[in-house]
Structures are given as structure tokens and as C-alpha cells.
Amino acid sequence: MDEKLFVPYLKELADKYSLAQDVEVELTDGEVIVSCDKGSFRFVYDLAKIKEAEADQVVPLLHWRNKRRYVELKNILKTGMIEDARGIRIHHIVPKDIFNSSLQNILAYETDLVEMITGEKVDRIFADFSSDVYTNCIVSAGRLRVSMELGFSPEGSEPVLLHEIVARTGIASDVVVDTQMQQYPIYLLRGKETEHYNEIDNELYGLDNTQADCIRFILGVLGEPEKIPELQKQGKHLAAVYRAAEKATKVLEYVEAEC
């Protein structure tokens, strides 16, 4: 986490939108601890760290829920621009970082995203892990089927991310047609090196986009702390889906996940 930007931005926006007073922020390994007039909250983004016994004491930090591209994919379905999602293709093959530190975290990310975008609950999973670096999954969520390619690429690699919704009336995707990789708003060409910048949030300018998503997620919870039990329940569900995936790998069966 970029402490120099993250902490002041979080405090600034909490104050600006009157979400909490006297905000103090502590960044520790895999979590953000926020103390304010509404209480003290442990927001955990390394979900693999959450032990079953403490699942009711922490808040899973589901930062992807605040990523604009996913919010808009959800809106495309919600507003009926495309109707009746039937299939989703997901690629999530990225270098390890603090947010993508284990297959459990990646699976939680994508499971929650499927549920957020479609409103369906993942009920069964088939997975076959290749140690702790990669897994393919076929996931059932009601009438929906999802294919997931989840894993790690070498350090410094471009992320391979795709979310494509196949519905009865159309397709929605976060990757441009006829391309294979994420595109960026800025490319800097200087000889052999091509740098890119991904500035999409002026209010949190300069901050890594996922960290910006974390801030917006935390602000959302501070604004509506009554939603915490629902988030904790979801955290347990995501852990159950991972356990089901592990079991599927052992028994090579479609395994039911607790809803």
C-alpha cells in the first residue's frame, strides 16, 4: 500500500463526504485498520488470512466491487441492455502482488464478482489445481455457467484479465473486441520500453487503481456500517467456495459450495 497517498486520501474523503470523524488509519500486512467515531474496523483484503474463528470480527475488503468497469458490467445487466446471462468467461492470470497473493484470493475475487454482476449465487464448482500457481474452474451459479482461468504469471508480466458475459440478447466484456489484453489510456513510447499509465480517478489522482478501489469500498462501509454482517457472511461463503474447489481437486467431482 502507498501509505503516503492512501492514508491522507482516505481521511480526506471520509471528511469530505461526512462519512466518519476522527479517522485514524493503520496499514498492516493484508489489512487496513480504521478507527473513527463509528468504531474500529479491520478491513482484510488478504482473505486467505481470515481464520474461521475471527470471521465475525473483521470486514472482508471486497475492493473489486468498486472498480468502475465491473460496476458498469453489472449496470449493463441491471438496466436490461443485455438480458439473461447464461455464461461468463473469466481470465485472471497476473503476477503476484499484495492483492493477488494466493489462488484463494483470486478465486474469492472472481466468485464475488460473478455474484455481484449477475445476482446469482455460486452453488457448485469443479476445479483442478496445479499446485498453488494455477487452476481452471467450471462454476455453476443457478442457470449460469462460468469458466475461470486463474493463476500467476512471472513478476513484471502484463495482467491477463477478461470478464465476458454471454447473455441471450448480447455480450458484455471488459476487453475490447479483437484484442487480447487490457488497454490503457496513456502509452509512453521510448525506444524498446513502452510504459503505460492508468489514470482513471481524478479525485484519487496518482493512487494505484486497486488501492483507490479499497478506499472507496472502505468509505462505503463507513457510510453504511449496518451492512457489515452481510459482508462477513459473504466472506464465509467465499471461503466455502474455496474449500469446495480444494475438495473438487481431490475428488475430481463437481462439489457443492455453501451459500
Binding site: 449460469l144 469458466s147 512471472p154 441471450r168 440478447t169 448480447g170
Partner: protein, 357 residues
């Protein structure tokens, strides 16, 4: 330069249009005749303006043209055995469409029949001749991404069932009417039956064969009696995992003849590879990038494909095999294990479990 004499039988397969240009342009191939399954098929063929004699019976064509060396069997799946029998009877080499048959006993009889007739039978899996596929295979086998952990591929297209209605008829497409699974109103013979290519490429690139397959179908995105969206995963005998998407997940206009404006989604057909190795990841698009326009009958933003030369390489191999009496790379025996894996995918859908080979 020695020529071979080639004919096309039936002209009802969706791929047949791809052969016209190649047979016309390639001086090594002397296009002798075509047989048309129906009057309507003949009328459609005449619109292309090729000066090639038309017959309404494949056998009649073979009798009238004993000079024919090879026949492209471009018929519906359930007619392939009968067409092969005819070719064997008259001693003609064959280029079979991508699915000779899904009936594995019939498949074995095809192999025997071809052997006894002393002719060769190449199977049309044109992705073998796609330059991107070729480069990907070279890169992987040279160790560019280390050991392959997982081979993932899509072969996703619009559905041809409105232009080629036989592909929407389970008995004609699959050969039998078999329910997808208990209580499901749909039958085998849809998107999976149309997309063997990535199953084959997987075998070439990993140098291995299927250990188990697990497949599941989504509810359909169109009202047809066969599957149209499905996913397949599994493991090869060498331990490599895979995930394949052979869906008809691109929407189409319900038109009776492939023509501009057929696609609703800008890109009507894709074959993509995403190969994860111990040292890196390889992403490849076999049909992209391209050029783009909006216009045509529906004024939609559309992809104009810029290369489709697979058919040239495939016909070059067919020629080479006939001239030099060689076995084609994709022959009936090699392809049998690919078709068998596809059948096992249907079995897996029915059972809700992985199926071992």
C-alpha cells in the same frame, strides 16, 4: 507440374465455400466437377459463377469422371459414411469434413474401409495450417514458456443453424438423437459438434493425449434443440490441464445464406489460445487483429477479417499426399482420439462427472 483432379461432393457443409477459391486459384488442383445434394444447393453454387459441371448424384459424378483423384466430402455429418463408401468403391482419395462421424463403431469401419480400398483420407482441421497456431506450437515446443501447466483455448462462433439447418438437427449433426442429460430437452449435436479444432490443437501442442474431460452446459442463448454454450476442462496424460470453450456464443441474424450482416457481435468467429507455462504465459489470437468498419445492411461496427489462408495449406497437403502417397498429418486414425474426446465431453455432461478416456 503435375495436377490432381479434384471434385466436391454434396456442397452442403458450411465450410464448402472456403474451397471454391482455393480450387479455382491453385494450378496444382484441377477442379473437375461438383455434386449437389439438392436443386437449391446447385442454384446457390451457380451464383458463384464457376464453370464447373454440376451433378445431382455423387456416384453419377464419379462414373462420368473416372479421372477424379480426390473428392472433398462436403456433406452433412450423417452422410459421411455413405460418401466415404462411394469414394472407396471407386478408389478415390478423400478429404473428409472435420467430423467424419461421432459413432465410434462407424468410425472404426471407416478406418478399415479406407485401408482396404488403399486410398488416403485426410480430415479437414484447417487450424493446423493457421500461421498463428504454427508459431504458437513452435514457441511452446521450444520452451518459450517452460513446461505447459495449462492449455486454454476458445473456438467461439455464431451459430450456423439458420444458414445450414442440418447443424440444428441432432440426428443429422450428431448422427443420433441423444438427450444432453436426463430431463434436459436438448440433444447432442450443437456447438461442441461444430468445434473439434481446439481439441486437436491441444494434442499437438502438448504432445499428449486426453486423460479425463469434464464438461458442463449453460442454458441456451438461442432457441435451438442442441447445446450452444458450454465449457470443457480436464487433464492430459502428461499432467497438463486444459480449459476449452467451443461455444456458439456470438449472436447472428437468422439469414439463410452467409452474407454481409450475418454477425450481430462484431467478430463472428474466434480461435484464441492462452497457454500458461512455468516460465510465462502465451496469448494468441488466430484471427486478429483485423480491419473494422460500420456499414453494411445493419450499419453495425463489424470486423472484416484480413486473412484466411488455412485452406490453401490444407489443399497443398492433400495434393502432396496424393502425389507422393503419404499419410496426411490429420488422418482418420489420428483424429479418432479427438472425436472420442468430444464424445466423452457429451458423456460428461450427461453424467455430471469427469469421464476418463
Amino acid at each position: 507440374m503435375k495436377q490432381i483432379n479434384v471434385a466436391i461432393a454434396s456442397l452442403t457443409h458450411a465450410h464448402v465455400r472456403k474451397y471454391y477459391q482455393t480450387l479455382h486459384d491453385n494450378a496444382k488442383l484441377n477442379w473437375v466437377a461438383v455434386s449437389c445434394a439438392t436443386e437449391a444447393v446447385a442454384e446457390d453454387f451457380k451464383l458463384y459463377g464457376y464453370d464447373v459441371p454440376i451433378y445431382y448424384s455423387t456416384e453419377q459424378m464419379l462414373i462420368e469422371h473416372p479421372e477424379i483423384d480426390g473428392v472433398i466430402i462436403a456433406s452433412e455429418n450423417f452422410r459421411h459414411f455413405g460418401d466415404m463408401e462411394l469414394c472407396c468403391k471407386y478408389g478415390k482419395h478423400m478429404l473428409s469434413m472435420k467430423i467424419p462421424t461421432f459413432d465410434m463403431e462407424e468410425y472404426d469401419r471407416m478406418i478399415d474401409m479406407v485401408k482396404k480400398a488403399g486410398v488416403l483420407c485426410q480430415v479437414e482441421l484447417e487450424m493446423t495450417y493457421n500461421p498463428t497456431t504454427r508459431r504458437v506450437q513452435e514457441l511452446v515446443q521450444a520452451g518459450a514458456i517452460g513446461d505447459v501447466i495449462s492449455f486454454n483455448a476458445t473456438n467461439i462462433t455464431l451459430s450456423p443453424v439458420w444458414a445450414f439447418p442440418w447443424q440444428g438437427d441432432p440426428e443429422i449433426s450428431y448422427g443420433k438423437k441423444i438427450p444432453l442429460r436426463e430431463g434436459d430437452p436438448r440433444f447432442r449435436g450443437g456447438a461442441l459438434s461444430d468445434h473439434p479444432h481446439i481439441f486437436d490443437t491441444l494434442r499437438w501442442i502438448t504432445g499428449s493425449d486426453f486423460d479425463y474431460v469434464f464438461a458442463d452446459v449453460a442454458d441456451n442463448i438461442r432457441d435451438i434443440p442442441e447445446e450452444d454454450v458450454l465449457y470443457v476442462t480436464g487433464r492430459m496424460k502428461n499432467g497438463c490441464k486444459f480449459l476449452l470453450d467451443p461455444s456458439w456464443c456470438r449472436h447472428e441474424e437468422h439469414i439463410s445464406r452467409p452474407s454481409p450482416g450475418w454477425e450481430v457481435f462484431p467478430k463472428r468467429m474466434e480461435v484464441n489460445y492462452s497457454i500458461v507455462g512455468t516460465k510465462g504465459v502465451l496469448q494468441a489470437d488466430c484471427f486478429g487483429p483485423n480491419v473494422y468498419f460500420n456499414g453494411g445492411p445493419n450499419n453495425r461496427y463489424t470486423i472484416q477479417y484480413t486473412y484466411f489462408d488455412e485452406w490453401i495449406g490444407m489443399m497443398d497437403e492433400f495434393y502432396d499426399c496424393i502425389i507422393h502417397n503419404k499419410q496426411p498429418k490429420i488422418n482418420l486414425e489420428w483424429h479418432k482420439r479427438t472425436v472420442e474426446a468430444m464424445v466423452r465431453c457429451y458423456d460428461s455432461i450427461a453424467a455430471g462427472k469427469p469421464v476418463y478416456m
